[in-house]
Symmetry: C2
Subunit: 295 residues, 2 copies
Amino acid sequence: MNVAQKLGFPENTKLLIVHADDAGLSHSENMATMQSLKKGIVNSYSIMAPCPWFYEMAVFARNNPQFDSGIHLTLTCEWENYKFGPVVPVAEVPSLVDENGHFFKKREQLEKNAVPCEIEKELEAQIEKLLKFGLTPSHIDSHMYSVASTPELFRIYRDLGVKYDLPVLINGQLMKMVGLNPELNIENGDFLVDNVFVGEYKYFENGKLADYYSSVLENLASGINLILIHPAFDNQEMKGITINHPNFGSEWRQIDFDFFIDQKKKFILEQNNVELITWKDIKRCIADGKDEYSN
Amino acid sequence: MNVAQKLGFPENTKLLIVHADDAGLSHSENMATMQSLKKGIVNSYSIMAPCPWFYEMAVFARNNPQFDSGIHLTLTCEWENYKFGPVVPVAEVPSLVDENGHFFKKREQLEKNAVPCEIEKELEAQIEKLLKFGLTPSHIDSHMYSVASTPELFRIYRDLGVKYDLPVLINGQLMKMVGLNPELNIENGDFLVDNVFVGEYKYFENGKLADYYSSVLENLASGINLILIHPAFDNQEMKGITINHPNFGSEWRQIDFDFFIDQKKKFILEQNNVELITWKDIKRCIADGKDEYSN
């Protein structure tokens, strides 16, 4: 039995998680994420433990356990004027930060500087921060998929899933995007998400981001599909955060919000026989038969 | 010679600093503060080192040394959903934080829990953070004037001024407001600001905050006057930060911005023979004749 069957669907069902990344980043991101979950077709999200608005989102998570709520492991801060750094004191993880104690902007800087044991310490502390807050995370994923910067980092990421008994997002396309060879780094026993969809700058630039999302919804394959979005409002706060960074910037995030809050998208899912599932469902299926989901 | 004379004015001149507190708190606060300095009659401000938007404001301070830029020593976080904590690792200053590692909301909690040596460590680290960033602070003051919570804390505050050779804001009215007896806690050698003006909730509540500010500008006494304001925009970010906290909330801060950015206020200052001075001016005067300014 595959995941679809375990969940009571036919074998070839198109399964979908619509996932909001970056919860906790800002008030704008939090409000848009909460609304997308309550009113839209977003049904899963993950929280950035090191971010300034973590608390607001964590309180929401504690009060709304009906929604999938994961840990968006964070090792980079890509913004120009808005900064955050490790959960662990900087002196204990000096290889993860710039001269001001903030995370590096780019994966390449992380890859060049970061000492694996410090990465492990920081990522574990991020998970522990959510647990200490009384949350029950549904899954682990990674901001900018920076956990796939090096094979060693990727092993740390996988091992955290084992240690905390949580599904981790592993997908070959994402690994390739970040520069890691899936053939060399996916292992027996890894649970794989079949297809991951993330908007690309070329779509945004040409005003085609919503069209891309429509096309994704209408052309899903059977198996486990995951759409990664970043809902937020194109307001002063988000403009300030994403200044000079139109890629995943505030306008992009407003498009994400507008598209996935739209009630008509529920009918598109119905028309296309798409079934929404969550990471909690996946965790249950994995627990139910570890061998079957081994890669 | 008094400060007025040292600065080249007649002895009985009405001197005024219009000071924006809370820089670094948020993007909204930063943008409004910068505009108030560039276009309004605000001529001094102080930065909160522990806050999420510190970096943006510190970059502004580094690039705009023409403006007075002080250190707004911070030991409390009064907001419901927006949290920040010490610059020093929490494990080193456990008495300053709640169960989530954030500053207490109220001065009373600080007074009850905080160990003086931890306060000293944290406040020094906040000053060092600005210095390490390459800033040249003009003065030291205190968020919610929480440094006047206890006599011991107040001594730490004064001593930091001596240690870093910076003027510190000391004023009897503010001390009383926080519950400290000025007669017992002001010492020989303290430099005093004669009159400090801060809006009160009763004015805000009755729609009279702008009237209060007008009245202050038109009725200043001679000597050193200081108006403490909190310019920010009443936008989604600030509404989120100040939720359920109308006292110094986002509407209040928008009024502050609107009033002090208004060009007509320059004429009111002229008509009333008010001279704007800065903390840098005061520092120069103090250095020029320490004995004369002793209390």
